[in-house]
Amino acid sequence: MSLPKATELPIGAVVTEPGSTRRYSTAGWRTLKPVIHDDRCVRCQLCWLYCPEGTIAEVRGVFKVGGKTYDVKYEIIYDHCKGCGICANECPTKAIEMVPEAP
């Protein structure tokens, strides 16, 4: 991702476009990112519950994993995940792995 230079930004950090917060990534400071291994996930919902950023999405659908079918799966919204690792710590099946961000 290439961000604008100091001289290209509005003076004084003014946000000139209303509603642009939706596009504002608050994940730039993450050094490790959680990756969910769906085959190990038992759909206990603990990561979704514990994530302090509310950045784990509960996706509805029909998901065949291994021999099982689930009606839900969990996905990380990487634009807002801060990489705290709480989800990985709470996951009872160790389905979430923290992997280094590409520099």
Partner: protein
Amino acid sequence: MQIQKTRKIEALTSNYAVAYAVKAADVDVIAVYPITPQTTIVEKLSEFVANGELNAELIHVESEHSALSAVVGASAAGARVFTATSSQGLELAHEVLHIASGMRLPIVMAVPTRAVSAPISIHNDYGDVMNARDVGWVIYIAASAQEVYDTVIQAYRLAERALLPVIVAYDGFLMSHTVEPVELNDEEEVRKFLPRTPRPYTLNPRRPVTMGPLASPDWYYEFKYQQVLALQEAYKIAKDVDAEYSRAFGRGYGVVEAYRMEDADYAIVTYGGAAYGNAKAAADLARERGIAAGVVRIRLYRPFPTADVLKAISGVKALAVLDRAIMFGGPAEGPLYRDVATAMYMSGLDKPAVNVIHGIGQRTMYVEDLYKIYTMLREGPRKEVVFMGVRI
């Protein structure tokens, strides 16, 4: 001196000189909170507003933190604003100093300087404004009531062009409450000198913007670097503004003032009214007694006028930097000394330079004391900081 007929000369304190300049600048919003020795500025401005001589919104606030916050808001909305403070008030407003400069608001604030507590002193030194020297504001330090008047007007022009807040500082009591003749400009001419130019961004419901938002690690550093560039640019703008002012009104000061420096062997580098006045008298005395002495006064303190200072001292054999503030625990306690030393080191200029601190809490500085600085310089280099005038 030839005085033009359109000009008026009034007997004014430096505080009243500020008030007259603010009136001439036709400000829109003034936040007022009394603190010694600043109070008479806002008293006079209240009078101007009450009499209908100045059409401004005067906001009574409950602290200096609120005063600066109020003008931050008004300035964000596009108003031309003014406030003033001193000492503990400036300390209380310190948090908002960063906000004003980070938001790049052209606020002008007068600071008749005063020693900071504890113990309580209402008297003068520069401990207060020196605590605010590194927060992204432009800082002028004036040395006469006339210069205070002229500088406040220049400050609006600089602030609005550089999009930076500006402090105009000067000696509390020694200048804020002593009367000098001040030549006042025609107010119409001042208003022509300070046209209202639209700012890139202001609070406006028809063109909504967010000011002072969150900047995560991806963004914050760039905005701080913008401020570095803005202060660098302000150095040039300050010189231009002074030259333009001088053309328009016949009085200019430059960013650094040099007194008898053409052939000086020994220099005192300092700031403010009392130190500069006494240093000039001491230089005269030293010259009578056969020492080629001179004085360099820093008028624009932030951005630091490095090139002009180096040029002014380039010919001397030794110099003393006279500070009227103590910044505790550094390699030398004088703030200006550290600036001058850094400037010399970074440019490779190697001169014996001693840091002299005097006039703390308005300890009387006698001309004879400052004359002694010249004889001390002539005797040879001294490394330790000299706390002159203190009982040790």
